[in-house]
Symmetry: C2
Subunit: 241 residues, 2 copies
């Protein structure tokens, strides 16, 4: 697992159990419910760079990611873009639009190729209406999505400096994406500086400069794309709260 398998292979591996992957999300459902659910989902694989949906489209339904990673971003009219979240295997995208019926608010672009299950809107809504516990589960998923948006607001609005935002970002990223084995101070940065900049609302150059500043202050060490937090308390203070 530690060596990089070619993508094609990984997809096949990951998706041997893929048709049932919804169980991971909707696992507390009675078997009959899962049965019904898998009857209305269809699976497909997506190459890197593909768009599951783009900002402004009428909502077609939800995607449950089996493998790969999907970037959710929003763009301004001036070409500036910002990343809201990176969804990974087991997560769901397109949920708010599907529930509300309003156009998708973000663009979902495949970052690492993989497979996803699609459930069309109408069927999904009807299913939820019939299955109270599934609807409740969906409400929980929505609060997760809300939560990361909320964190983003806090980070953008309450930080006094770009350094604070980057510090927060690293700490949160370390919690969410443990690089390898349980070490919570070690993480693998699968994002470019540009993308990090878009996540924390800063410019690419600032991110670069901050990274070298952090290194100089011995807050972090980095080799290639793997990063180690060597002074977590200081980083926490820098993040402010």
């Amino acid at each position: 697992m530690s060596m990089q398998a070619p993508y094609g292979l990984r997809i096949i591996e990951d998706c041997l159990s893929c048709p049932l992957r919804e169980e991971r999300i909707f696992c507390d459902l009675p078997p009959a419910g899962i049965q019904k659910l898998s009857a209305i989902t269809s699976s497909a694989t997506y190459p890197k760079g593909a768009f599951l949906f783009v900002e402004g489209q009428p909502p077609r339904g939800v995607f449950i990611i089996c493998s790969g990673r999907v970037k959710l971003s929003a763009a301004s009219s001036e070409g500036k873009t910002m990343i809201l979240r990176i969804a990974e295997a087991g997560e769901i995208v397109g949920l708010p639009g599907t529930i509300s019926g309003e156009p998708y608010e973000a663009t979902a672009e495949v970052l690492e190729p993989g497979q996803a299950n699609f459930i069309p809107r109408e069927l999904f809504l009807r299913f939820l209406k019939d299955h109270g516990d599934a609807a409740l589960k969906v409400a929980q998923l929505l609060t997760n999505i809300y939560h990361v948006a909320y964190q983003e607001v806090r980070s953008l609005g309450l930080s006094r400096s770009a350094a604070a935002k980057l510090a927060k970002f690293l700490l949160e990223w370390a919690g969410h994406h443990p690089g390898s084995q349980q070490d919570e101070n070690r993480l693998t940065l699968t994002l470019t500086h540009e993308e990090i900049a878009q996540m924390i609302g800063a410019s690419r150059e600032t991110v670069t400069r901050l990274f070298s500043e952090f290194k100089k202050k011995k807050l972090v060490q980095m080799k290639g794309s793997s990063l180690v937090i060597s002074n977590r308390p200081a980083l926490k203070i820098l993040g402010g709260a």
Copy 2:
């Protein structure tokens, strides 16, 4: 209605029908559901400055606002605070925490005194489990809440200047809180400059300066707390789509 009634009176007026106010939110439920729902809600009035809950508390349940207005805000460790949204009559607060079980993420402070119905967490969750359509409705409410958080992220992250954020804010506020009668260009600013600053992530002084700049450029006119958008297209451009 155009004259300001004293608060006490307004509360009494608004709440004559208040015990059934959930109908406004959960109106598509069958009568039996509404019956059950009103059995587990309790009503109370809150003075100005009261806290429905504060950041970090374990979630007790949800509040459905009958009358008055409630400010939802978050504070950083350095004392900086920012406003996430202002909830008004008919809206629900405390929902994400109640659903997820995580501590309340924000602080809810009463801005204008009023009445609210409270539903304790355990009962609420059980109710949702039993009533699929209510759970679906809750999911819709959550997407509303998500939506304003999302707009906030866009505004904070994608705007190139404070002027842009203020312009966006005014346009959105005009849509949501039509001052009086249907005129979508007329709105009543019930917030202080300080509060507006906290909503758009800027300093109080900047807001003051921007307002006088907007006036000078004939984008808006203001008399007391009522504001008229006199050049909506220009404001829209300034906001940057």
